[in-house]
């Protein structure tokens, strides 16, 4: 990592090569199949992939008021979820960086709870919250407010559910850049008379824009392809394109329509991502060494902020913590509940049989280990591919890199069902590869957009002066990389690894197309059970995962610093 881009023009392309190569090898083929399918005139499950191209599917989409409406509503839902995640996630991230170091592993675990619990469990939590006799209405009843009966099966309910599960991504994206802000900057702001709340808006917020950008892109892309939560909490009154893609691809065996719908959504959401990148670049002129216009908040806004800011901040923090902890409470109660189905609301009798089935039932334990191995391997491969890419994006830009980075995030903007449909046509090739390697290849593809986006923000936040100091003291490039850069990146690497691990560990949509008899991952097993009726074993699995995560994070905390060296 030496020299400026001008001195080493070939450095950027070299850094960008590994990830591009991997994606070309494993993702380009299913994506090409998907594109070809979208150009089919009519569905033919047994026909060749290559046919005379036709725009029939696209004409059908844009000529159909219902489909256009669903596309627009999905994009709006994505935007709403993103906004909600920012509002709820930002106070949480601020809280996290202010926590004493010894409490952070526990706090991290709290933030990761939604990712560690099954989607059905999380949805149940939201249902219990919003139901006519649910928690909110009961609380309102205590203060004499009549119940709202129409909260479930609305866009709001879906948005809340999605915000809950995507909040970890936003918080982790913000965590690294927020705690990377030197305390000296805060002191400077204080000495200029800024209160804590004003500082958040005028100092922390602008400096955390790279992290915010990462979080916004990730959350928006995930929210606009979501379909399971939308199905469970939208009660088919809410439609998303993800649901339509699933329906067309699987229930109607209409792959061309599914492919065309996915591509339309991909184009729309990629445009959104590029817009976000463009806007943040303009909002952070100091990164490209251009002068930043002097910003000043009007006095009355500062007054309002000082007056209400802290209270609102605390309220938001409480809301997000409650939202995160809700599934935990459910999991703890339900995993000991002696009922036949996981979605029961009331406690009937105490039992340990669900734990027994998970830990000693054989099938669950085997699936669990497969998932752990797969997720660990995925995280290692994805991080080693993403790190060079992140350096290319942050430090060694070259012409064409923006386009290339859009290609890197493509797997995130495609509904996973669509990737599955593309893979189906390549099943012959896929089954020729050892199943672990095949799954690994696909999981890495799905994880890469996250790890690149998160790591890019971390690399941008590195203090270049430290490297320069080391260089002036005679440290060679490899030494500087291992002694200065890597420790500085430790929190970012940790966040990206946790994310990669958990995404791979929880992936079910693509995996359920590719699963073989020897490779049944845990989520596939749970999903298969849910296709009949979900049993409380799923709660026991979540409980074990949460406890495991807390222990693992505490151990990690002993080995790796969860904050940057100069932050204290």
């Amino acid at each position: 990592m030496t020299g400026t881009p001008e001195q080493r023009p070939f450095f950027g392309p070299i850094l960008a090569f590994p990830v591009t190569f991997w994606l070309l090898l494993t993702f380009a083929a299913p994506f090409a199949v998907l594109t070809l399918l979208s150009l089919h005139e009519y569905p033919d499950p047994f026909g060749p992939v290559l046919q005379a191209p036709s725009t029939a599917q696209f004409t059908a989409i844009f000529g159909d008021e219902f489909l256009v409406r669903v596309i627009i509503e999905t994009l709006l839902l994505g935007a709403g979820v993103t906004a909600l995640t920012v509002v709820l996630g930002y106070p949480l991230a601020l809280w996290l960086v202010r926590l004493p170091l010894k409490w952070r592993p526990l706090a991290f675990a709290v933030i990761l709870i939604p990712l560690l619990t099954n989607v059905v469990v999380r949805s149940l939590g939201i249902v219990l919250l919003l139901a006519p006799d649910g928690l909110i209405n009961q609380a309102l009843g205590l203060v004499g407010i009549p119940p709202f009966r129409q909260m479930l099966y609305t866009h709001g309910a879906v948005a809340l559910a999605l915000a809950q599960v995507f909040m970890p991504f936003m918080v982790l994206a913000l965590y690294d850049v927020l705690q990377g802000t030197s305390p000296r900057v805060h002191e400077a702001a204080e000495s200029l008379g800024a209160s804590r709340i004003v500082r958040v808006f005028l100092v922390d917020l602008p400096l955390s824009l790279p992290g915010l950008r990462a979080g916004i892109i990730i959350v928006f892309l995930m929210a606009s392809t979501a379909y399971v939560s939308a199905t469970l909490l939208g009660g088919k009154k809410v439609w998303t394109t993800g649901m339509l893609v699933w329906q067309e691809a699987l229930q109607n065996l209409n792959a061309p329509m599914a492919a065309a719908l996915s591509l339309v959504m991909t184009v729309a959401s990629t445009l959104f991502a590029l817009a976000v990148i463009w806007i943040t670049r303009h909002l952070t002129p100091w990164r490209s060494a251009s002068p930043s216009g002097f910003r000043r908040l009007p006095g009355w806004i500062i007054c309002l902020l000082d007056l209400f800011g802290p209270t609102i901040g605390k309220l938001l923090l409480m809301c997000s913590l409650l939202l995160l902890l809700l599934p935990l409470v459910l999991v703890v109660i339900q995993s000991f509940n002696d009922v036949p189905q996981a979605t029961v609301a009331g406690f009937r009798a105490f039992t340990l049989k669900w734990y027994e089935r998970v830990l000693f039932g054989g099938a669950y334990a085997a699936s669990f280990w497969i998932s752990v191995q797969l997720a660990a391997a995925t995280a290692v491969v994805a991080i080693s591919l993403a790190l060079p890419a992140a350096f290319a994006l942050a430090r060694h830009r070259f012409p064409g890199l923006t386009g290339l980075s859009a290609f890197w995030t493509l797997p995130l903007s495609l509904p996973h069902v669509a990737i599955g449909v593309g893979m189906l046509k390549l099943l012959q090739v896929f089954t020729a590869i050892p199943s672990f390697l095949g799954m690994l290849a696909v999981h890495v593809v799905l994880v890469l957009p996250f790890s690149i986006t998160l790591l890019q923000a971390s690399v941008e936040q590195l203090d270049k002066a430290q490297e320069d100091a080391a260089a002036s003291l005679g440290a060679s490039a490899p030494w500087r990389f291992f002694l200065i850069v890597m420790p500085g990146l430790a929190p970012g690497l940790l966040a990206a690894s946790i994310m990669s691990f958990l995404i791979s560990f929880g992936e079910v949509t693509v995996t359920s197309f590719l699963t073989t008899a020897r490779m049944t991952t845990l989520p596939v097993r749970i999903y298969a059970e849910a296709s009949f009726s979900l049993e409380p074993t799923v709660h026991a699995v979540s409980a074990i995962l949460i406890v495991g995560t807390v222990i693992l994070l505490m151990m990690l905390n002993q080995l790796v610093r969860l904050d940057r060296l100069y932050a204290r």
Partner: protein, 348 residues
């Protein structure tokens, strides 16, 4: 899916490829140690029952063979079997009634034959599109506290007392399909005259919700979101018995709508004999009884004695003749168009 002329040609070709199986059947090699049977099935209780009552017996008969399960939902399993037509990684897949008949037509799975001894004892309706292994009919289920009188007819769904309290099942899917077809039928339509069905369902709006699965529906009952729906009677009985005694499973005079789990041997399997043995064991008494006792799925074979206390909870003998069946070719052919209409007129 709509069958085009081009597809018809392929279907005929598929049928032609499948046909010789009848003549070569006796030539199938006997299973030997090391053979692996790959079974695609639902998880949870169903996986446990076949592991216990089919796999063990099969291994006892053919020591050294291996059984592997690919777990998942029907849509993924079917999509994959279609993608692998003729060179399947599955030897046997479980499908629902209409998917199984279409799969035979599409040359993906085999029609049933008497190479499976229990084939002779199957009800006729269970002999189409594979081997029916369990009846799981769809009916009206409701909260009896909210009913002024017991529900005895599909017409009762249109009783004003349920207005705004109905969780209509989403289409396509076994329950939604049954709901739509029954609505058409009782108001003088049929699968060939579906319009009346859509119009009558639209009259029921606004719905309390649209339900997408039995688990989701039970949650709605638990939470007081909805009071009546169209659902599998079998598992709803487990739910009613274990959690919510207020839920009643109706037996409408017009009959319950047929739904069935079907075991389908793939075209091109290399373990024909083993797959047939598997199906025969699934259709034998221990497995049929386990299904009936544990999840109230009704047997599809006639030569079975059912314990007296279990009989009223199942669909047996004359009740099987009462099950309402449909022309599934028409239903499958129209599914995309009906899906599109349902999304716009009923769910949207």
């Amino acid at each position: 899916m709509t069958i085009t002329r081009r597809q018809t040609g392929r279907l005929l070709l598929g049928a032609g490829l499948a046909a010789p199986l009848h003549f070569t059947r006796t030539a199938h090699a006997q299973p030997k140690a090391g053979d692996e049977l790959v079974v695609g099935i639902w998880g949870g209780a169903q996986e446990r029952i076949v592991r216990e009552h089919v796999e063990k017996a099969l291994l006892a008969k053919y020591p050294g063979v291996k059984i592997s399960y690919v777990l998942g939902g029907t849509p993924e399993r079917r999509a994959r079997a279609y993608a692998e037509r003729g060179r399947p990684s599955f030897d046997l897949i479980y499908l629902n009634i209409f998917e199984s008949r279409q799969a035979v037509k599409d040359g993906v799975t085999q029609a049933p034959t008497d190479a499976v001894p229990q084939f002779a004892n199957l009800y006729d309706v269970a002999k189409l599109g594979g081997y029916g292994v369990a009846f799981n009919p769809v009916t009206i289920v409701y909260d009896k506290r909210k009913a002024s009188k017991p529900v005895t007819s599909w017409q009762d769904l249109w009783n004003p007392e349920w207005r705004g309290r109905i969780a209509w099942p989403s289409y396509p899917g076994a329950q939604g399909t049954a709901g739509l077809l029954m609505a058409a039928k009782i108001f003088g339509g049929s699968e060939n005259a579906i319009d009346i069905g859509f119009r009558k369902i639209r009259e029921l709006k606004p719905f309390a919700a649209i339900q997408g699965s039995q688990d989701q529906l039970y949650g709605m009952f638990d939470q007081g979101v909805a009071d009546i729906s169209v659902e599998f009677g079998s598992f709803t009985r487990s739910y009613a018995e274990s959690r919510n005694p207020n839920i009643e499973i109706a037996n409408p005079v017009e009959g319950q709508a047929i739904a069935m789990n079907v075991a389908c041997i793939t075209v091109g399997t290399r373990n024909q004999k083993l797959a047939e043995e598997w199906v025969n064991l699934h259709l034998s008494a221990p497995c049929m009884l386990a299904y009936a006792q544990q999840i109230y799925y009704s047997p599809t074979v006639k030569n079975l004695s059912i314990p007296a206390e279990l009989q009223p909870k199942l669909v047996l003998g004359p009740d099987v003749a009462q099950l309402v069946d449909f022309d599934w070719d028409v239903v499958i052919r129209n599914q995309p168009a009906w899906t599109s209409r349902f999304n716009r007129e009923i769910a949207g």
